[in-house]
Symmetry: C2
Subunit: 466 residues, 2 copies
């Protein structure tokens, strides 16, 4: 139902823009949620975008700009004069402001920082010190900070006085005189207790595992939020000083970005996942992310060809071997890919400690053996029962039974090897601190292609007495 409900206003917006009717644009845009406005914005051409930005003004544009893909942000900001940008930046929450400044070029960042008021500038510069992909880089300082010694009345007065927006009311943390995080308070605790109750008596503890270090990876923060079903996660420094918070909507964005990155790496797509959608991303950007892996894997694949070249005699003596060659090689890629995908995803979900390597290996060894033996048996059966009907040429003294068993044995060996290699490579990559998803997946197929060729021809030579 969400789809249909927003299509009409988006069309109205497009119509108003085409008609160059500024007041109609403002009226329709004002009724749209910023997320829908951001989607509509991306469907416009450059001239229409500027017209939209001019029509709605910096106040209405602020939240929409935060929701745009990084590559469109600087262009959008450049549509406004400095005085308008001052308004825009003042209206943003501190984490949104930091996100925007992280998305623009260095020159623009300095220029925009100069437009902030002295307090905002100091706060923003402080947040920009954290790497973009850490908890500190994603946090906001927009939370209510209370002291344990306050009464409910003092707390409410304090919040009313300081609060920039009402959001802080759902995120109140209690600190001691030195700023250490010691507890949290909910609005209902303030609303349903008498005014002279000390905050100390109504605050709840924040367990150590339900906070995150500012320098921790953003994914760790998202995992903690998800594990403990939190709406807000406090961010602290190494001395447990309360620095900021990460909210559930950020956590969802982070998890979604990381899943997309994992998926892309598994397919051999290099580089950071950009925030742009598939269609917005230019052909050149897509090209750059795919080409390097393809070239490298292509060169490596020549190793498989070299093995084939070396076994020229074997293949030409029993050319029927070529009927099963692609299958044996591909089975390795398929089983290796399955094993590495399962292991890499389990790592991403935080299921596998480094200590579980042996357990994983043992599981995949049993699994690979089971798969290998059953696939081998299937192919032997098919070969022995069906192949003779086609009357292919076999070398003298080689029966269909022997030929079928040869192929089956090679397939079994290839499947077992590939499954174990597929499980081991990501574990090994992590052990030497490489990203398992990026290194393991594309490398596995190529590696087991080579091993498959060697296994197949070696077993054929031995069992067929070539």
């Amino acid at each position: 139902m969400s789809e249909e409900a927003v299509i009409q206003p988006a069309e109205e917006l497009a119509r108003a823009i085409k008609a160059e009717d500024q007041s109609a644009v403002l009226a329709v845009a004002g009724d749209l949620h910023y997320a829908d406005l951001a989607l509509a914005y991306q469907d416009l051409d450059e001239e229409q975008r500027i017209m939209l930005l001019k029509s709605i003004g910096p106040n209405l544009a602020a939240d929409m700009i935060v929701d745009l893909p990084d590559s469109l942000i600087e262009e959008a900001l450049d549509a406004y004069r400095p005085a308008e940008l001052k308004v825009l930046f003042r209206d943003l929450s501190d984490d949104d402001r930091v996100d925007i400044l992280q998305a623009v070029g260095d020159e623009a960042r300095l220029r925009f920082l100069g437009l902030l008021g002295p307090e905002d500038e100091e706060l923003t510069r402080g947040l920009l010190r954290y790497e973009p992909e850490t908890a500190g880089g994603r946090m906001t300082t927009g939370f209510g900070r209370l002291l344990a010694s306050m009464t409910v009345k003092q707390a409410i007065d304090d919040l009313r006085h300081k609060q920039e927006n009402t959001e802080t009311l759902s995120r109140m943390y209690v600190v001691d005189a030195k700023g250490h995080l010691i507890g949290r308070v909910r609005l209902r605790d303030l609303a349903f207790n008498t005014w002279d109750t000390p905050i100390r008596d109504i605050m709840a503890e924040v367990p150590p595992e339900q906070r995150v270090l500012a320098t921790a990876d953003q994914e760790e923060a998202a995992q903690i939020l998800m594990k403990y079903d939190l709406v807000v996660l406090p961010v602290v420094d190494e001395f447990d000083h309360m620095l900021g918070i990460i909210t559930h909507d950020d956590a969802m964005d982070i998890l979604q970005e990381e899943s997309t990155e994992d998926i892309e790496k598994l397919a051999g797509i290099a580089g950071e996942q950009v925030e742009d959608t598939y269609l917005q991303t230019s052909v050149m950007t897509h090209f750059k992310r795919r080409f390097i892996w393809l070239l490298g894997l292509g060169m490596l694949a020549i190793a498989s060809g070299y093995v084939m070249l070396r076994f020229e005699d074997t293949l030409t003596q029993v050319f029927l071997l070529s009927l099963y060659l692609p299958m044996v090689v591909a089975a390795g890629g398929n089983t290796g890919g399955q094993a590495s995908t399962m292991v890499i995803r389990a790592m991403s979900l935080g299921e596998l400690d480094p200590g579980t390597a042996r357990e994983v290996l043992w599981k995949e060894l049993r699994l690979g053996s089971l798969l290998g033996v059953l696939l081998g048996a299937s192919i032997a059966a098919v070969t022995i029962l069906i192949l003779p009907a086609f009357r292919p040429e076999l070398p003298e003294g080689v029966s269909f039974a022997r030929f079928g068993c040869t192929v089956a044995l090679a397939l079994t060996a290839q499947v077992i090897t590939s499954t174990v290699v597929g499980a081991l490579l990501p574990i090994g990559a992590r052990a030497i601190r490489l990203d398992p998803a990026a290194v393991a997946a594309p490398a596995i197929t190529t590696l087991v292609d080579v091993s498959g060729m060697v296994i197949y021809f070696t077993i054929a030579q031995a069992l067929l007495h070539l």
Copy 2:
């Protein structure tokens, strides 16, 4: 920091269980968050699990059991007597109760339903009517329901009277006399307005796109929550009657499950993603999810072998062709895999409408051409410059330049074909209402293996005059 902080209590718990010290188990478990308790539980053997369940009793166990993988839930419940189960089910929120009942067998479900009070049983049976993977199947009815005609005082009295837990205070919706959703109210609106203010004056509208139909897919609900940064999403029926809510933590679980499913399908792993972790899943379950694809793909791969067999003459005349054969074939799998992964992920993220098929095709055609031409040029250069140094045999009248160009042309044709096929297959699968991730990914590699063989040998025959 979360990791270290919870390791100690988990070890203490294991020690207390080994010592069979019930009161120590209860003391340690009482301090653990249910998510951590559920993790610790899964590391125990069956006897220890029962000892843990008996020690902590049904009250403390309820939330932990909800957090267990589906396959462990029935066993855990069976540790309790009916009277204890009554307590356990009474303490659960309605959506958690439904989740548990969806996870157990039919016989157990009927037995457990009989333990509920008449009101809870009716409510639960009502929720069980929705499919588990729909918005209705995931929703809870635990929200505050207010009438627009109430005053703030009446609303507070009403909530205080009815509320089972304080959670409802952060989820208050306003309905008309017939139960249609007409607005929402925040606790701060009740707390900071005079008691005689009518709810009508302080409620906010709920835009049509920020609600979801009970019959909609759970993924749609999660996407709406994420798009609009909501903490709670109201669920309605087709007449806009307010039925329940879905919360941000459910949305996060849903998105994570769906990402894992996508990743597994891309690697040719069949069946529903089970809630169990990788290590908990038995070898047989892993086996079943992998074998069927492997067998099917293996049989299909014989088609590649058949093509090779048919081109016996070509290959034996210029056996040097085998040096590049695996590379040309593999390049197809790699480029096809990249293209299909990008398209499938974009579909999952809701970026591609069915109407954008032509746009996608045009982008991948340009991209495939660019990749194909550059990869071809690279391989031609390598062949012409380096190959002569190894003095391989070439048929009379064939220069290294001609041979290099032949290989390059075949590679270019294979890469373009595979990229377009890789992008088209998921789009085609969706058009005939198949799951793009499950059908497209494993099929692509096999398909382009065959096409690669045909392209390679046909171009070689033509250009080398074989």
